[in-house]
């Protein structure tokens, strides 16, 4: 590579809630001859990235942002767009820096940031591209060329960079090929330029991990179990790493949420139910970590959930205590205490095998409805991983003695993010056949009552290919009412890159709609994990502890638009029957 070739025009996205810093960083980066886009909100940044995938080379983000934790953003970007992310903070404590590293940040800058530090950020872009090329093993040479072209797409001094780097890349690739061949299982059959973690592929991954046992898992074992020709151990290893990060983050998030909830103000309705919850909650031995003080919040949440539940179209006659119990699971911050989180709790609880009288399907449905109605989902991100996580976590609890109503499985709920999916996971009794869940959930969501609104910081919905919800701002699921039309979904917008553009109203796209996505929808190659078409493993509602209103639906899932029509024909909501 030409040592003096500076990557002018490197496209940087800066995310920082501090307007002063945003202005300064923009100026600094412009002075470095980079192309800068600034953003004051993490979720907006994610929308931008999703919308304009491939239009950015690197992201710089602050760690402390009000609407979303910087590390969370970091993970999302890593998972969905696989862009290098640099974290920034005034806090240079080793633990924070370590957290950044663990979440996949390629660098951690301390504020005040100097321009000279920014000048060199291009190295991260370059490094990542080199790694990407290395991941591609055993491809045909023409594929390699394509890869290289793709990798450098968008870089301004494209010819300069490409010409100089592709040679380097190619040479390096050749050198690595021998090494790589040893590891690839069957390189010849990999036709794609990159390993795209499709929903199916990820599902296989998750299944394999579950089979092996999350603690004993290793890339080689997973690879063998998955038995996907062309997949290499390296592919699996990096995916596993991301998955682990994601799971640990969720777990911590749950812990924090619970602690945070203790500080919230909740409107209390009654006391008896609270007592129930409180006692049962505190009785859970494995709660630890100061959860007891969260019980109060749980109560309030229960109350909130109750009111919301009343409003929902839920038709399942769940006993009141049950509802409350489920609430235990997701004690979000007050601002975020939305029915969504409550629901999450409900769902999670219900899905537990301990809920002897409720069929998982019923529970699920209820949840769906309640949740759907209440949550103005802003972002739905598909996280097949959730399934796995939930399943495992829930699986742990199956050995718990059947709790009676007085002893909701609080702690377990606490650990499981409210996602419907996770619950659905367990509901399936480990069958891992999530295809049944889809229609139910889809129907649930479709029949949501528009009246409810929740401020969920961010709900990640891992919808089966059949349901995609796109909401915006403080949306309401108003448009959701059983009309999964695309009108709000803008799927046919070419710039969606397979993602749903946030529309003014939330809308759910039924599976059928998805199937009929226009062919000209640009098929943007995912740089990293692609969660398309999750064969509806489950609807995964991710609750972020930050107060964030779900704004847009994420859909990198649809990048490849591989919706098999057979996945959408589920007339009944009979899940897990």
């Amino acid at each position: 590579m030409d040592a003096t070739a500076f990557p002018y025009g490197l496209r940087v996205l800066v995310v920082d809630d501090d307007p002063t810093w945003l202005k300064i960083l923009e100026k600094m980066l412009r002075k470095c001859s980079y192309e800068v886009t600034t953003c004051g909100l993490a979720r907006v940044a994610l929308d931008i990235l999703r919308e304009r995938k491939n239009k950015f080379d690197i992201v710089i983000s602050d760690v402390n942002m009000p609407d979303m934790d910087g590390f969370k953003l970091l993970e999302h970007i890593g998972l969905e767009m696989d862009l290098p992310v640099i974290m920034m903070s005034i806090d240079g404590e080793t633990s924070r820096v370590m957290k950044g590293v663990q979440h996949g940040a390629c660098d951690y800058l301390l504020k005040p940031v100097r321009m000279k530090e920014l000048r060199n950020i291009w190295q991260h872009v370059y490094r990542k591209k080199m790694h990407e090329v290395k991941e591609i093993e055993g491809n045909d040479s023409c594929d390699d060329l394509q890869i290289l072209r793709n990798s450098f797409e968008g870089l301004d001094e494209k010819s300069l960079f490409m010409r100089s780097d592709s040679d380097t890349m190619r040479k390096r690739k050749d050198m690595d090929k021998d090494h790589a061949d040893q590891e690839s299982s069957d390189g010849n059959t990999v036709k794609k330029a990159r390993v795209v973690w499709s929903v199916d592929l990820h599902q296989k991954f998750v299944n394999a991990v579950n089979q092996i046992g999350f603690d004993k898992v290793g890339p080689k074992k997973i690879l063998d179990l998955m038995n996907v020709p062309g997949l290499t151990r390296e592919n699996v290893a990096s995916h596993l790493q991301k998955y682990r990060l994601y799971l640990s983050r969720l777990q911590k998030q749950n812990e924090e949420r619970i602690l945070g909830a203790a500080r919230q103000d909740f409107s209390h309705k009654g006391t008896s139910e609270n007592l129930n919850l409180r006692s049962s909650f505190q009785e859970q031995p494995n709660i630890g970590n100061g959860y007891p003080h969260a019980s109060q919040n749980i109560q309030t949440q229960t109350k909130m959930l109750d009111s919301q539940l009343e409003d929902t179209k839920s038709t399942l006659p769940l006993p009141a205590p049950d509802k409350k119990r489920t609430l235990v699971s997701d004690v979000a911050d007050s601002q975020n205490v939305t029915s969504a989180s409550s629901l999450g709790g409900v769902l999670s609880f219900k899905s537990l095998p301990v809920n002897q009288d409720r069929k998982p399907s019923e529970t699920m449905i209820l949840e769906c409805q309640t949740w759907s109605g209440g949550i103005p989902s802003k972002q739905f991100m598909q996280y097949p991983k959730h399934n796995h996580e939930r399943c495992d976590l829930l699986g742990d609890y199956s050995c718990l003695p059947k709790p009676d109503l007085e002893h909701p499985v609080g702690p377990s709920n606490l650990y499981t993010p409210p996602p419907l999916i996770s619950m659905s996971c367990s509901m399936e009794g480990g069958a891992r056949d999530f295809s049944d869940v889809k229609p139910a959930i889809m129907d649930c969501i479709k029949s949501l009552s528009p009246a409810m609104r929740c401020t969920v910081d961010s709900v990640s919905v891992q919808l089966s290919d059949s349901v995609v919800t796109s909401t915006d701002g403080d949306l309401k699921f108003s448009s959701v009412d059983g009309s999964p039309s695309n009108k709000d979904c803008c799927l046919d917008q070419t710039n969606s890159q397979g993602t749903l553009r946030p529309s003014p109203e939330s809308s759910i796209i039924g599976g059928t709609e998805l199937a009929s996505l226009p062919d000209d929808l640009p098929n943007y190659p995912l740089h990293g994990v692609s969660f398309e078409n999750i064969g509806l493993s489950s609807i995964d509602l991710l609750h972020y502890s930050d107060a964030m209103i779900l704004s847009g639906l994420q859909n990198n899932w649809y990048d490849e638009l591989e919706f098999s029509s057979d996945m959408m024909d589920y007339p009944s909501i009979d899940l897990f029957v």
Binding site: D18, P19, K27, D62, N64, P66, K111, P112
Partner: protein, 151 residues
């Protein structure tokens, strides 16, 4: 000459701000960023800072009243202010942030209140001093400003 006198004054004023610990190196960095494409960069950044920090101070004040025992919240709010202060090199304010955060750590509400009051005073003082500084600079003229900033 009037002009060089003004110039001397700006240099002196800036030196004072540094010597008295109101500003640190970051302020110089900002001045270096200023160029033809953004001739009033430093002043604009300062304006942004004061606007945002006023808002943050109000938030903290409200939080102390509304959630007096929520030290975690107070700490994070002050953390935001600290980050903001670091943007223009508001050294005294940054230091006071640390004092406030220490008080939060000790769950010392009174200490937090005192610290917040001090912070507000520092904020007001810095704002006033910088306003005078920028005013003087405007009188001197942009080219001279560029020269003096290198000192």
């Amino acid at each position: 000459m009037e002009y060089s006198n003004l110039r001397r004054q700006t240099i002196f004023m800036k030196k004072n701000l540094f010597d008295q610990g109101y500003l640190d190196e970051q302020f110089n960095q900002l001045e270096e960023l200023q160029d033809e494409s953004s001739p009033n960069f430093v002043e604009e950044v300062a304006a942004l800072f004061f606007k945002d920090s006023s808002r943050l101070l109000t938030n903290i004040e409200q939080a102390i009243d509304k959630y007096p025992q929520d030290f975690y919240r107070l700490d994070s709010l002050m953390h935001q202010l600290k980050g903001s202060g670091s943007s223009i090199g508001a050294l005294r304010m940054k230091n006071e942030c640390s004092v406030f955060k220490a008080n939060c750590n000790d769950r010392n509400l009174e200490g937090c209140r005192r610290s917040l009051q001090k912070m507000k005073r520092e904020h007001a003082t810095l704002k006033q001093k910088l306003e005078s500084y920028f005013q003087l600079l405007r009188q001197v003229g942009p080219s001279e400003y560029a020269v003096s900033s290198r000192k």
